[in-house]
Subunit: 574 residues, 2 copies
């Protein structure tokens, strides 16, 4: 859970609606049934997850179960379009693009105590003892943050268990499992290591990630700290520790390493929130970085607090989702007033480690299999060096596109400062334009410019982002190749540059829908440029009723009265 | 020297004027007399150094001599407003604000060899043997970069010596002093350590800083590498190793540490170029960082390749100047076509190490004593919490202002998300505006927004920058204080936030001069806000002749013919 200072000021100084909604459990919050939502708004993403209504931030508790169902929980204020009154919202998916909204999974235990970020695990061997008769028990571990009239109280780590596969939870009656007097100790992420559980938890303002071990998820022992690495910003948040394969250029697994990811907020170099990561080894108690390199997950500003799904089989690529926003403007973007919701998650990403030219080992961030959302192929063109595509996609109901560009046979000795491949998306109605492109020569920057989109601005809504991609063969004289994938989805644009070596995620808010794609390739003769463009389905359409409302899973096993009473009857204490 | 890829593409592919000007020593370059310049243009900084004409990038060879004269050399193309044809320009100053342009100090030894970046030292003890009869000998050590028809040749480290205090140099006849076959080995910076010289040199594309030692500046021995630390970008450049005092909150010296600064270009998180630094200890051969923290010198995008002056007495604060631009647009900004020059240096900065609240040890970057350029005090006002200043400074001939803001007695428990202090500069004629400000509550961001300035734009000219300042007392309930200093100088704006814990440097190019300052303080009652605003002098005015031309030091000891012949007669080899 992020932006403690903000919540604090809200709670203390009653300067925004956050103050109202964040200081008691609102009886209006539906229990045992999903919050309904309308997903037809012009700014509402169609293939990305966003909450039915209200405010969402960090992804939480993500796991994939034995049936291959992906569970997404999220920091959720169902009663307002700003942060506060934090619950765990819940949605499930079979493909990570079509999401079924589920009843809210975790409720605040009492007034002035909020359910902040955390993770969940499948306790198949019943290490916790909560699941005597089942192998699909789910245990969530999360931060409960208490606020007093005069300020922030302690943040403690707590658990709740689910006997119905993660749809409803009961608080453990001996919480907290990790007590604390600190108001800056949060966001536990748990993994299994050989014979024990390992939690990484942020000591936010000490710039440390605490590592704890447990045999049963109830009793935790401090193991080590990972302290003051990389960019500090003004706080550490949402740590992740995850093992993933190291692959060679052909994709073969040659090793495995651990990634320690740390989100920083505020004070990121680009402003506000960002995520950095470190590559290293883990022995069950200590993480040892391979080097002192600071790596960033994204070259733009709208990918924060990403979490890796628990339950991906050992040896396989990992999968993560991030929060596609930035605390500098997350509570101000126009979707709140216009459509009653704020924040989407990023597209699902596939992660492994490999060697990038010159740079060395990096975590690749590629978009997850998009086949379930591909609608029709709108373009499939190739050209020799120079080419153009002008596409009117106003008839695409989703307003969402997926684009793949592959360039091969690039004779780098013929490149100039004008050797570019540019893709833009425009609204002929308003003249707004979202630009992106790659310069193959010189400093080889890939850029995104959302400055031409006029539906939202504030003093932190940075217009331009770029990175330098030392693409295959760099500037040598051999024939080089380059590729990119991109998805645009009404108010979110994501690019995966050069096999996922660089990822950029930006939100943008046009006053009129973008409906015109223009692509221009200006490369030397001999370069083979292939472009494929698909329209994307409206993932939410199949869940809409006649009134266009997405009700979600109304046949949930959850039962409002019983679960709420369980919450309040539990001997809960912080 | 930066942007090798760019120069390379220019040299190889002849796509820009760089190709012409960068491939031979232009006879038109004046020798023995300074390049004349006109410093009256609307975009020309009045208290910052900029070249008389042509293109400037990295500061080089900076030292302060026994008479207190500050010597600035700089990467200089006197024949074009883009990079190429690199010489070392030269200027001197007694106060770091009034600069006397000197004859070009270092010329390319031959065609297709460029004088890239480097440093200079005072060899008072004649360790080099070049100065038998003097104690003011100057030795410059720099990279010579050779380009062939078909690509980049080796970059080697070379020296030249000056017997006239740094005004003219003769190449050592046994260059190179550090040979290499690499085209990515450059930017030597030399310091004295106890009984020997130490050079730090960038292995640009291996992300390593090589440390070398020498008794005489002629013979160098490899000592160690500082490899793969912090953000890599796509290249390391312009390393600096410098010792500076560690001061307590009262300014008392309590320790001393070394700063290892590394510039990265391209591939900075904000795009293009940026400088990071590491704090640690140095034993004469090895630099050992205190921690794995990556710290940045600037929260904006226009401070690159900063160099620390040689010759600041041991134990004193250090002094640096940076290049106030970014390779993403340095060769495109409108001053080239409009006024015949491109790039200014930052204002001089004073540096020491101290504890920042929560963050820990940081290098402070404060503006150097501005008293020599203060003209008249335009405003000196105080208010209780809420206040406004509207200042028409169209009558200020320099168009340049210096601003100090001090806020004390801040009751942080009364702060809201609307507790701000904003300063903007506008052109009533064009409606253009440059904004900056601080939010005292929430995530405590300081921001700069140049997006309202319309005289220049490109896809890399980022509009907005921000940082999080955990200012004194942070969000505790005690009374807090905060301060800022700022200088605006026609096309450059620099802020020094909260005692120099954060520095932001931006260039901006208004279509009409900015002439209206607006300041608004919205703080709780009881907060004491004091604002002082001075107009600044036109530092260059005193050097102008009747035609408004700055001729510089035309009585230089340098002699064209003799020095040029020395260059060509020297047994120079790379």
């Amino acid at each position: 859970m992020a932006r403690l200072l903000g919540l604090l000021s809200a709670a203390l100084f009653a300067v925004s609606t956050t103050a109202q909604s964040s200081t008691y459990v609102n009886p209006a919050v539906p229990t045992g049934t999903p919050v309904p939502g309308n997903y037809t708004g012009d700014l509402r993403p169609q293939v990305h997850f966003s909450p039915p209504q209200g405010f969402m931030n960090d992804p939480n508790g993500m796991f994939v179960d034995a049936e291959g169902t992906w569970h997404l929980y999220y920091q959720y204020n169902p009663t307002s379009v700003v942060a506060g009154n934090q619950h765990w919202g819940h949605a499930t998916s079979k493909d990570l693009y079509h999401w079924v909204n589920q009843p809210i999974a975790l409720f605040p235990p009492e007034e002035r105590v909020y359910v902040f970020s955390g993770s969940a695990v499948l306790d198949v061997n019943n290490t916790s003892g909560f699941f005597p008769d089942q192998d699909n028990g789910v245990v969530a571990i999360f931060t409960l943050a208490r606020y007093y009239e005069n300020g922030a109280g302690p943040q403690t780590q707590n658990i709740a268990y689910s006997r119905d596969g993660g749809y409803s939870f009961e608080y453990y009656d001996a919480n907290p499992v990790i007590d604390s007097t600190s108001s800056q100790f949060r966001d536990p992420k748990v993994i299994w290591y050989e014979d024990h559980w390992v939690a990484v938890i942020a000591y936010a303002q000490e710039f440390a990630v605490g590592l704890f071990t447990s045999p049963d998820l109830k009793t935790w022992t401090f193991a080590s700290n990972f302290t003051r690495h990389g960019l500090l910003g003004a706080q550490y948040e949402c740590p992740n520790l995850v093992k993933m394969p190291v692959r060679d250029a052909d994709g073969a697994v040659i090793d495995e390493k651990y990634v320690m990811a740390v989100s920083i907020q505020p004070g990121a170099p680009l402003g506000g929130s960002i995520t950095e990561y470190f590559l290293g080894d883990f022995n069950g108690t200590h993480f040892t970085p391979l080097d002192s390199v600071t790596r960033l997950t994204d070259f733009a500003k709208d990918n924060y607090a990403a979490q890796f799904f628990y339950g991906v089989p050992d040896g396989q690529n990992q999968v993560n989702l991030g929060w596609a926003s930035n605390w500098q403007y997350a509570q101000k973007v126009p979707t709140g007033n216009l459509e009653g919701w704020r924040s989407a998650m990023t597209a699902p990403r596939v992660n492994y480690i490999t060697e990038a030219p010159r740079i060395g080992l990096v975590m690749v961030d590629e978009i997850y299999d998009v086949s379930p959302i591909l609608d029709s192929k709108l373009k499939s063109e190739t050209c020799d060096g120079e080419g153009r595509i002008a596409l009117d996609y106003s008839s695409v109901e989703s307003g969402a596109l997926y684009i793949e560009v592959n360039v091969t046979n690039i004779n780098t000795t013929l490149l100039t400062d004008y050797s570019t491949l540019n893709i833009s998306f425009a609204s002929p109605a308003s003249g707004e334009i979202l630009q992106s492109g790659f310069y193959f020569g010189g400093d080889t920057p890939f850029f995104i410019n959302r400055g031409g989109i006029k539906g939202f601005d504030n003093v932190f809504f940075t217009d331009k982002f770029s990175t330098a991609d030392v693409y295959s063969s760099g500037s040598s004289s051999t024939l080089a190749s380059w590729s990119m994938k991109a998805v645009i989805d009404r108010s979110i644009f994501e690019v995966f540059v050069d096999r996922g070596f660089h990822t950029g995620t930006v939100v943008f808010y046009p006053s009129q829908p973008l409906t015109a794609l223009n692509l221009a390739s200006r490369l030397p003769a001999g370069a083979s440029v292939s472009v494929d463009i698909w329209s994307l389905k409206r993932s939410w359409a199949e869940f809409e009723n006649e009134q266009g409302t997405v009700l979600g899973n109304v046949t949930s096993s959850g039962n409002s009265t019983s679960r709420r009473s369980m919450v309040y009857d539990s001997k809960f204490s912080v």
